[in-house]
């Protein structure tokens, strides 16, 4: 069942929570709504669920508008951040609950059979008689998923379902959720503020900020081909390095204090607009240069770091290593360039030490250039 969201808006008095949101979720697809807190992702989910009314626009499930439909007739299952398991019922009763209320109530026996099926799917059969209070976070999570699926909903909505779990459990449960969702082929919308979670679980991700969908794309595209500065900054860890540069039209370079990037070394085919047009935008307002931490390369240093071919990079500058952070296979090297604190990722065996002087090469072809409003130019 597909979900189509058209020109959806939501305002609370003066405050705009959602602005002209358009989204198309295909049948059986798992879409993540990703964004910082307050970006409107939960509002959007609640509107799809029918727990909130939109101020304008339409939500269609399988082609039919549901904005005037009561939540219970929308055919949705939902998992909440705090799971909302009913404390006075056993696990089994919790899972059966949706089948035992409302007009579509089924007989206890049949409800039990159906509940058992989903309890098997989520691996909680052994907990049937226990109360939610005596379960671990991960177990409660499974119960919540089973309860959401037991009505065989057209659409499954998950509102930050993993944020109450500890880090290790989060990893395994998110794989588990993806497995279950794919096994039941239910169309799923998953809300999260954790980019790693979204990247690993979603077929496609809608990145939201200030009530607007900034980009809706496959995970790798968000990272490699961000639509704007917000997406580029939001996706990726360590975070994107950014530099405010001015444009020197005479020399055709993006000029900074410590380094400058000639337009000539960029790949013409990767400009979002005709180069001439891009240049006039640059000349008008300067730009923000975005460099992924892996696109800085340490190409030499005072301690005799092997000269890793500084000549391969058209832009090279020297700097002082401020600190080095180990994260396993890689190390994050912190330094300052152009008055910005920068991060670069290097192989842990080639990591310099704090205080070393190093030469940094810039992989110019892979950088992103944004205009003053954060729109992508390159």
């Amino acid at each position: 069942m597909s979900i189509t969201i058209r020109h959806l808006g939501k305002r609370y008095g003066e405050r705009v929570a959602l602005r002209d949101v358009n989204l198309e979720v295909c049948d059986g697809e798992l879409v993540c709504l990703l964004g910082p807190s307050g970006c409107g992702k939960s509002t959007l989910l609640n509107i799809v669920a029918g727990l909130l009314d939109p101020s304008g626009g339409d939500v269609l499930i399988d082609g039919e508008s549901v904005v005037r439909t009561h939540p219970k007739y929308r055919g949705i299952g939902m998992v909440f951040q705090d799971y909302a398991l009913y404390p006075h019922m056993s696990v089994e009763e919790n899972v059966m609950f949706p089948l035992r209320v409302g007009e579509h109530r089924v007989a206890r026996r049949e409800a039990l059979v159906r509940a058992r099926r989903f309890m098997r799917l989520t691996g909680i059969e052994d907990l049937a008689r226990l109360r939610p209070g005596s379960l671990s976070g991960g177990q409660q999570q499974r119960v919540a998923v089973a309860r959401a699926l037991v009505q065989e909903p057209r659409v499954l909505l998950l509102d930050e379902p993993l944020s109450n779990l500890d880090a290790r459990l989060r990893l395994s449960i998110r794989e588990e959720i993806r497995r279950i969702v794919k096994a039941t082929r239910v169309t799923t919308v998953f809300v999260t503020h954790d980019q790693e979670e979204a990247l690993s679980i979603g077929d496609r991700i809608a990145v939201m900020d200030r009530g607007v969908i900034q980009q809706f794309a496959a995970p790798q595209d968000l990272y490699l081909d961000p639509a704007n500065l917000f997406v580029a900054r939001f996706m990726g860890s360590p975070v994107l390095n950014t530099f405010c540069l001015s444009y020197d039209g005479g020399r055709r370079v993006l000029a900074g204090d410590d380094f400058s990037v000639p337009l000539g070394v960029l790949d013409v085919s990767r400009f979002r607009r005709p180069v001439g047009e891009a240049e006039s935008v640059l000349a008008a307002g300067g730009c923000v240069l975005g460099v992924r931490p892996e696109h800085f390369h340490l190409v030499g240093g005072s301690d005799g770091l092997a000269d890793a071919g500084a000549d391969r990079f058209p832009v090279v500058f020297g700097t002082l290593v401020e600190s080095v952070e180990m994260i396993g296979r890689y190390a994050v090297v912190h330094f300052t360039a152009d008055d910005e604190r920068c991060r670069c990722v290097v192989d842990v065996r080639r990591a310099p030490r704090a205080g070393d002087r190093v030469l940094v090469g810039l992989d110019c072809v892979s950088v992103h250039v944004f205009d003053a409003d954060g729109g992508r130019l390159y």
Partner: protein
């Protein structure tokens, strides 16, 4: 220093306990006295010998069995009724969105400030004009809703995350089903405390029943106490004996459920 502080604390507790418990103990003691002992000056603290016959005599002075049945019916029904109205009102105030909700809440809080004695007159007029004087309806109707308990339950319900309600709605529950299957079971302890306190206050009610009833058949246990007041004076020792008997069921209730009662009062007290 610490020991002195603790000494003070114990002293204070003992003093307040004494002040609250003394009348009760005196009631029991006086119920075993002779008329002379009970009314003498200076008053006697203990009877010379216990006169158990006072109890029998007290029970014969008024139709206490009938009173007890009446009281059970009236307190029972008004307790159930109040629970029902309170649950519905508190649900609406906490979970539903409607216009002027805040104003309504404000008015309700303001109503708490109005003393009961003032309401008694308007209530009496209403009941009289409805032609309900001297009926069970007169005894029960005015106590079918309580602003205090509505606000008490609202407090309790706001502490239950609204995701339970959302989840129930998505699961296909209607509002009534949500109340019956989720909200009431989840607020059992608060409702239980409420029911106990409501029943106790119903049992102890005195002023209202004596106003709206004329015949002995409609009187409640509390009113039975006035049977000992005659032109020639009050049979204090019998009145005390009757009081002791009347208080007994409440004491038993308390003894059985005191933990729940304290819990309910306590939880409400420290709510964020």
């Amino acid at each position: 220093m610490k020991r002195i502080g603790r000494l003070f604390a114990y002293g204070f507790v003992l003093l307040t306990t004494g002040v609250t418990v003394f009348p009760f103990l005196y009631m029991v003691s006086a119920s075993l006295m002779s008329f002379q002992e009970a009314t003498g000056v200076p008053p006697a603290l203990l009877p010379a010998h216990a006169r158990w016959s006072n109890f029998g005599e007290a029970l014969r002075a008024a139709p206490f069995a009938r009173y007890a049945v009446n009281t059970l019916i009236v307190s029972g029904l008004s307790t159930l009724g109040t629970l029902a109205t309170t649950v519905l009102a508190a649900f609406a105030l906490v979970r539903l969105r409607f216009r002027f909700k805040r104003l309504l809440m404000g008015v309700m809080v303001a109503l708490l400030m109005v003393p009961y004695e003032i309401l008694v007159f308007t209530n009496y007029r209403t009941i009289a004009q409805l032609g309900l004087l001297d009926t069970y309806a007169a005894l029960i109707l005015p106590s079918l809703a309580s602003v205090f308990y509505i606000l008490y339950l609202c407090q309790y319900l706001t502490a239950i995350p609204d995701t339970y309600y959302k989840a129930a709605i998505v699961n296909g529950c209607g509002d009534l089903e949500y109340m019956w299957r989720i909200m009431i079971p989840m607020s059992r302890s608060a409702l239980f405390t409420m029911a106990l306190l409501l029943f106790i206050s119903g049992w102890n009610s005195f002023l209202w029943p004596i106003l709206v009833t004329n015949t002995t058949d409609m009187r409640l246990v509390g009113n039975g106490l006035s049977a000992f007041v005659t032109e020639s004076g009050t049979a204090v020792q019998l009145q005390m004996a009757a009081s002791t008997i009347i208080v007994l069921p409440i004491l038993i209730l308390y003894a059985v459920f005191h933990r729940r009662i304290i819990e309910g009062v306590h939880v409400n007290g420290i709510k964020r």
